[in-house]
């Protein structure tokens, strides 16, 4: 469409031909705004005439024109510019490359693009340069705080790990909430198939520096073209293309830096632990003398029972956290070249990226290469091809629970051998190393570490090898045929091919694997995703003011996913760690799954005089995941825009440069359920007497159909003072209905899921969730004087989430108390904590009647008035520049989320068991009658003397506000002056220093408030990084 508009405009310039008497000669030089280099081949037209010329190899031109001409300069990839030459005979000009163009194009899917003024839908647009050179492995993470309505939460601090992206709230309860990602037209599989050893983000295949722009389609006005996949929004990524020009532009990027743990937890010293253990034992045994309690504590800790106070004071303390969380490094180098001529353009890049987590032995390495090629075979036929190849190696942590997919709580673990969970819990008098430097407490030594946490986690981390290799190829090929100047046909094919090879070698020297002589888990997964579509795009201007365009198309997508696993044990030596070295094959596994989707779609637009725009979309989509009778569905949307600024009463205004009112309503679908969810199936059971069993694996539901979102959006785009103040305001109402909900049926019906401890479920289309929200986005140029410029961008999203309907007659989803009608999703439900009885130090709760009790019942649980859904989020960026120096800071914030600090739940035992605790709980514990505190007295085995009392550490004690504000990014850069550049024969050199996550303000007391899901146990926390880089343009 972009080309059409340009073509139309060019044609229009040829129409009126006034005749002028006098003639003059004008000459000059045209350069590029990108790097100041000369632009050859630029078309120079005299407006109102047929006269024209092009610039030569040095960018120079000379043209004879009537007096006082208006010159029109145009060139592919650059914004056309009109210049009133007046009486000048020399007109030098810098053409703005279209990447920096003020009237930016918004990609709306299937090759269509509109300008911001023409857009009828709510979109967020992020240019590649905004996320350039950030030390992140996937672009989703880089979007954090930069787009209104888009909430980005890293699941953990694993580099290249999962990121949770929620566009306009959480609409689905049990189906997926992930948006659709389309990279250069290829629909990308975003399932984490990492085999459970490491959190592996499928989007990390793409080097973020290869990205030209990211467009997020938030409402149905534009997203409905993706129909059944669009309910959670659509993210369109466009990678860099070549640019025509005599000179190939080469860009070299290098940055290097360090990563650092954000926070260390304050835990008890050896001496404090002995004290608190003594108190816990004393409380459980009132008849013991204090001395006897201490003797008992010392003996339990394996210490000599006759230690004097001085000897206890002299006991050592070892820093297990410090040894587990360590500074790491970041390295990135990439090289790109882009260029071409008027028929062929290319973009070529290669990159290497490496980053450590702040946790020992967890890292990410990626080699990637990208080629984008466009070629015009003739005036009618053009090819657009892209190929991205990447090889990723991630070393994972030991002990990540095997969550895959978009499951919440990716990466949480409570494994005693996992440093990310156990480091603060190990009793601090256990040495880490023997005096000779070897690991302390390995099983073969016969010495066992004291306490519940008896594994040397540093040895586990060093010796156990968890490695995941992802090789991914994403390719796309598009053929465009311009049948007439109005009608363009396009055929497109895309491939997303990925193999994951993951292995976990559990070293026979480590505690859990000593007696099985080591074990190996290996996992091979391959995923093939195909996207293919054909489209026809018709654009026609009728008369002067009517512009009609229509897109029609058909699409087919399929994905096949296969897995093979093996588990073996009995390794002769730790040095042999391939499967053939195993004496005992333990098990093999496999899986096969797939889906198919097909659809046809159309988008019809009508514009009247740039003022009134009407757009309608209809898509008819089918998915193999649903019952045969319900496979197909219609997804319509209609949207309109009134460009008020174009009205005659405003178009001369100097104050108001842009004012547009938008409205859209439409429907989109979600089919993110199991591939065969509709089917009634028998699947594999386990083994008995050497035979495999089969059993009913799901009840199925042949009536299963799309989850449907109906979104209303009202938007206002504004711009004042020539764009010095600009932005937009959106109000939306998103109703997610016919939710694909796992309805819990009584398990007495006996149809099991994978895990026989969970309830029997049927996936049904029941329930409704409403997300209402406001988004506000403003960019202002506060100062622009004397070379000093200060620009501010602020965006905020306010969102209100509520479950409005569940299945008939039910207010609470059985099996998930957090889902209840009238409350937001992830509502916290528990028994409110009433604090500590000042008389005896015992914890108390409020029962359902509001009375204080030591012992509550399951039925006393109720909503606590908060939920784990964020209510406000956004970002705030300030950029100050002077000369070549620029300082930019992004604050990102996320407010209103209350989550149980599950990790802390186990860090508050206060000597109740042989695990270390946080200092806070030690310092605030109840010790004397009358004392007011929230921390109960220490209790052995976490229970009070009377057996009927439940564990005193109920979760409700540990709800915390996980809101935070973070200085997400701060960058100081310096562009070397162009005079020097010319001397050096380079076009640009930029040096910069950058810090990510430099500062965080939060009330959260755990490692880090940013994690996805509701379980932070053993999640590898975010890290802070400092990088220095240089970017050279040749």
């Amino acid at each position: 469409m972009k080309k059409f508009l340009l073509a139309n405009w060019l044609l229009a310039t040829l129409f009126c031909l006034p005749v002028m008497a006098q003639e003059v000669t004008v000459s000059g030089r045209v350069t590029s705004s990108d790097d100041g280099s000369a632009l050859p081949g630029v078309s120079v037209q005299v407006k109102g005439t047929t006269r024209g010329t092009t610039t030569d190899a040095n960018g120079n031109y000379k043209i004879t024109t009537p007096a006082n001409p208006r010159l029109v300069f145009s060139f592919i990839g650059y914004t056309s510019q009109e210049v009133e030459a007046g009486s000048r005979t020399t007109v030098n000009l810098t053409l703005q490359s279209s990447a920096n163009e003020l009237t930016e194009f918004i990609i709306t899917g299937y090759g269509a693009a509109v300008t911001k003024k023409e857009a009828t839908g709510a979109t967020a647009n992020i240019k590649g340069d905004a996320i350039e050179n950030l030390p992140v492995q996937s672009f989703d993470r880089a979007l954090q705080g930069r787009a209104a309505g888009v909430q980005i939460t890293s699941s953990s601090g694993v580099p290249g790990g999962a990121v949770q992206v929620r566009i306009r709230g959480v609409g689905s309860i049990t189906a997926g909430n992930d948006p659709l990602y389309v990279v250069d037209g290829v629909q990308i599989n975003t399932r984490n198939d990492g085999g459970g050893n490491v959190s592996s983000n499928p989007l990390s295949f793409l080097n973020p520096n290869d990205i030209e722009s990211i467009d997020v389609l938030k409402d149905a006005a534009t997203a409905a073209i993706y129909g059944a996949q669009a309910a959670n929004g659509v993210v369109l990524v466009t990678t860099k293309r070549g640019k025509a020009g005599a000179k190939t532009r080469v860009n070299i990027n290098y940055y290097k830096g360090i990563v650092d743990p954000i926070r260390k937890l304050d835990v008890l010293s050896t001496q404090q632990f002995i004290q608190i253990r003594t108190e816990a034992l004393q409380a459980a045994r009132p008849t013991l003398t204090p001395v006897a309690s201490r003797t008992l504590a010392l003996s339990q800790l394996g210490l000599s029972t006759d230690l004097t106070d001085e000897a206890i004071a002299a006991l050592p303390n070892y820093d297990w956290q410090g040894e587990s969380y360590r500074p790491g490094s970041v390295d990135n180098v990439d090289l790109s070249a882009q260029g071409g001529n008027d028929r062929t353009t290319f973009y070529l890049s290669g990159s290497f990226n490496q980053q450590d987590a702040s946790l020992r032995n967890v890292d990410f390495k990626r080699f990637s290469s990208k080629l984008n090629l466009t070629h015009k075979l003739n005036n009618k036929l053009a090819v657009d091809a892209g190929l991205n190849v990447s090889a990723i190696t991630q070393r994972g942590p030991y002990g990540t629970s095997g969550n895959t997919g978009n499951a919440a709580n990716v990466g949480s673990t409570t494994a005693f051998g996992a440093p990310q969970y156990a480091a603060p819990l190990i009793l601090p008098f256990n040495p880490i190393y023997n005096p000779d430097g070897s690991y302390y407490g390995l099983p073969a030594s016969g010495v066992t570490m004291v306490g519940d946490l008896s594994q040397n986690i540093v040895a586990n981390s060093d010796l156990i090898k968890s490695k995941t290799n992802v090789n991914q190829l994403v390719g796309n090929l598009g053929l465009t045929y311009s049948l007439t100047k109005d009608l363009i046909l396009k055929g497109f094919g895309g491939l997303d091919y990925r193999t994951v090879n993951s292995s976990l070698f559990n070293d026979p020297r480590t505690s859990d694997y000593y007696n099985v002589r080591g074990s190996l888990n290996q996992f091979v997964n391959s995923n093939i995703g195909l996207t293919s579509n054909v489209t026809a795009n018709y654009t026609k201007t009728i008369g002067e003011k009517h512009l009609v365009s229509a897109l029609i198309g058909a699409e087919y997508r399929q994905e096949i996913n296969e897995t093979t696993t093996l588990n073996a044990s009995g390794f002769p030596t730790p040095d042999l760690n391939t499967a053939n070295a195993a004496a005992e094959p333990v098990s093999v596994g496999g899986a096969w799954t797939g889906f198919k989707r097909a659809g046809i779609f159309t988008n019809v637009r009508y514009e009247y005089g740039k003022r009134y725009i009407l757009s309608g979309i209809l898509r008819y989509d089918g998915s193999s995941r649903f019952g045969t009778d319900n496979r197909w569905g219609y997804f319509p949307s209609i949207s309109a825009k009134w460009n008020i600024a174009e009205e005659s009463f405003l178009n001369t205004s100097n104050t108001i440069s842009d004012l547009g009112l938008r409205f859209s309503v439409g429907s989109t679908g979600n089919d993110q359920v199991d591939n065969f969810a509709a089917r009634q199936l028998y699947g594999l059971s386990s083994v008995y007497q050497g035979n495999s069993g089969i059993r009913p694996s799901q009840l199925g539901n042949s009536n299963l159909r799309w989850e449907r979102n109906v979104t209303y959006n009202l938007g206002l785009d504004y711009g004042f003072f020539g764009g010095r103040i600009k932005g937009s305001f959106e109000a939306f109402h998103r109703t997610s209905r016919d939710l694909l909900l796992n309805r819990t049926v009584p398990s007495s019906n006996g149809v099991a899921l994978e895990n026989t401890n969970t309830n029997t479920v049927i996936t049904e289309n029941i329930g409704e969730v409403v997300n209402k929200g406001l988004e506000f986005d403003i960019t202002t140029v506060n100062v622009n004087k004397g070379g000093f410029r200060w620009e501010t961008n602020f965006n905020i999203t306010l969102i209100d989430n509520k479950v409005t309907k569940l299945f008939e007659g039910t207010d609470v989803l059985p099996g998930n108390l957090a889902v209840r009608v009238g409350y937001p999703l992830f509502t916290n439900v528990s028994v409110p904590y009433a604090g500590v009885n000042p008389a005896n130090g015992r914890p108390m709760w409020y029962d359902l009647n509001g009375d204080i009790t030591y012992l509550f019942r399951t039925a006393d649980q109720r909503p606590l008035g908060h939920s784990a859904i964020s209510k406000i989020y956004g970002g705030f960026t300030n950029t100050l520049s002077y000369g070549g120096i620029e300082l930019s800071a992004l604050f990102q914030y996320d407010q209103g989320k209350t989550v149980q600090n599950l990790q802390e739940f186990r860090f508050a035992d206060n000597g109740g068991v042989l695990r270390n605790s946080l200092l806070y709980y030690y310092e605030n514990r109840w010790t004397t009658p009358g004392q007011i505190t929230s921390v109960p007295r220490p209790a052995e085995n976490r229970t009070e003397v009377s057996g009927r009392v439940s564990s005193y550490q109920q979760i409700s004690r540990f709800y915390q506000d996980a809101s935070y504000i973070r200085l997400k990014q701060i960058t100081l850069s310096y562009n070397l002056p162009s005079s020097l550049m010319q001397h050096l024969k380079m076009s640009s050199v930029k040096i910069y220093a950058q810090s990510i996550n430099a500062l965080t303000w939060t009330k959260w007391t755990g490692f880090d408030p940013e994690f996805a899901g509701t379980d932070n146990s053993g999640i590898i926390p975010q890290s802070r990084s400092y990088t220095f880089g240089i970017q050279i343009g040749l």
């Binding site: 054909v534 059971s685 019942r857 976490r942």
Partner: protein, 483 residues
């Protein structure tokens, strides 16, 4: 140009026209429910699946054995397993048996097979044999459900009794078949168990034990069920028939310890088999790790002979161990005392542990689990005779079988009360750490007296809570009192 338009339109047309078949894709790791049980292989595999639930951690894999002992009064918990078993050992409310969904999953699969059998490609005799086998399994599942979640038939406390468990006898494989059952009375549940066991006795195969259901297993379970039901004549009848059925043999004094060191216990009439390495429940969840720090039979033997310095590293947790009082119940010379020995040092404590589960399969953390063995039948018959004041001579003879085999002298001249006390004592000693004591106290309406706090009969904690999610999912289902 026309050609291009035509081909374009054609392509789109084809895409749309072929849409219905475009979306067809068949799963490869599953079978459609409508055909799964129409073949011999399918039904055999479905029967295999029913057995696998007996291996679950929440059933015989651990809980019906080890958690039963933690809840009861013969054990103490040594907290050296990161808090494992502590809550059950202290009878903290809500820390109890689980397994509700597991039992019903097995039951539903049995029901589905029963429905598929009449049209299956098996002979009449084969069908009867399968029916007998799986009806035994259905009876066992209902029996476990009833004794875990409901009062035993003759000792229910009326004010607290919420009934037995829901009775499900039809298979469920489609959403339309889903039921919202109420709790049937315990009497009705037992009546179903009686029916199933009657069929199993008549039709189950004579051979194939002890790892598969046999007629002998059905007889033996019938004897136990009848005892729980205080139906003493049937307990006597079926115990006698089971003893004569030829599965399992009564071991003597000299091979008593060896019997507990062999993979399959020679006395087993029904024993849950764990065969391949992948079936091990591992260091965190197996019975072996719950009971002992010792890694193998060989290590137990060598430690019994000589305790080296330093000790080998501890493997399992050894969290549920006998109380001193229980150990003291053994008289001098009782061979059964040899099954308790000093374990390894874990978390700075070294204690006497039960070694009935030692990775006897040859794989650490993996042992077959005897469900019913010969010795129990003698004790069932003795108890039934004594409590019904029947053939007391046989009762005394039976209990003396157990006593003398253990190396004790035969008891003589006992009053009925003394005889009953002796039977209870021999049950405690003979069947210790096999998951009986908790249920024996419960079926007799007795209090659980323990150092960490008594659980009197009638306390909420006598019955396991029905999972809260189940109560929420089924409004017809009453939760047990106090939860």
């Amino acid at each position: 140009m026309k050609y291009i338009i035509q081909s374009f339109v054609l392509t789109m047309g084809l895409l749309i026209a072929s849409c219905s078949s475009l979306l067809d894709i068949e799963p490869r790791q599953s079978i459609d429910s409508s055909v799964a049980l129409t073949t011999r292989e399918g039904i055999n595999a479905a029967v295999t699946s029913v057995y696998t639930y007996l291996k679950a951690q929440v059933t015989y894999g651990r809980d019906l054995i080890a958690i039963a002992e933690a809840l009861a009064d013969e054990t103490q918990i040594i907290n050296r397993a990161g808090g494992r078993y502590v809550s059950e050992g202290q009878n903290v409310i809500n820390n109890h048996f689980l397994g509700w969904p597991t039992y019903y999953t097995a039951i539903n699969e049995i029901n589905l097979i029963l429905e598929a059998l009449p049209t299956s490609p098996f002979s009449e005799a084969e069908r009867a044999s399968i029916e007998g086998e799986i009806k035994f399994l259905r009876a066992l599942n209902y029996f476990n459900l009833a004794r875990v979640f409901a009062f035993d038939p003759k000792v229910a406390i009326a004010s607290l009794n919420k009934g037995g468990v829901p009775i499900m006898t039809t298979g469920i494989k489609t959403p339309e078949q889903v039921q919202y059952p109420t709790r049937a009375s315990v009497a009705d549940v037992y009546s179903l168990i009686y029916q199933d066991l009657t069929t199993a006795v008549a039709k189950a195969p004579a051979t194939g034990g002890p790892n598969r259901a046999t007629k002998a297993a059905a007889l033996a379970l019938f004897a136990r069920v009848a005892l729980y039901n205080e139906d003493f004549p049937n307990a006597i009848k079926y115990a006698t028939e089971a003893l004569a059925a030829g599965v399992g043999r009564f071991v003597g004094n000299t091979d008593y310890v060896a019997a507990w060191r062999s993979n399959t216990h020679p006395e087993s009439i029904f024993e849950v088999l764990f065969q391949t390495r992948q079936e091990s429940l591992g260091v965190n969840n197996s019975i072996q790790t719950a009971y002992t720090t010792i890694e193998s039979v060989a290590q137990a033997n060598s430690l019994a002979a000589l305790r080296p310095t330093p000790l080998p590293p501890a493997n399992g947790y050894g969290g549920i161990v006998p109380t001193t009082a229980f150990l003291n119940l053994h008289q001098t010379g009782d061979v059964r005392r040899q099954l308790y020995q000093l374990g390894l040092n874990r978390s700075n404590s070294t204690v006497i542990e039960c070694t009935k589960f030692l990775g006897k399969s040859g794989v650490i953390y993996m042992d077959n689990v005897p469900v019913i063995r010969i010795s129990e039948l003698y004790l069932i018959r003795a108890e039934a005779q004594a409590r019904s004041n029947g053939d007391l001579a046989q009762a005394l003879a039976d209990v003396n079988m157990i006593r003398t085999r253990a190396g004790l002298t035969a008891a003589t001249g006992l009053t009925n009360a003394q005889l009953q006390a002796e039977i209870v004592l021999q049950r405690r000693l003979e069947l210790a750490f096999e998951g009986h004591r908790w249920f024996d106290l419960k079926r007799r309406g007795q209090d659980v007296i323990k150092a960490t706090g008594n659980v009197t009969y009638g306390d909420t904690r006598i019955l396991a809570p029905i999972p809260n999610s189940e109560i929420l999912a089924n409004k017809n289902l009453a939760q047990n009192s106090g939860y």
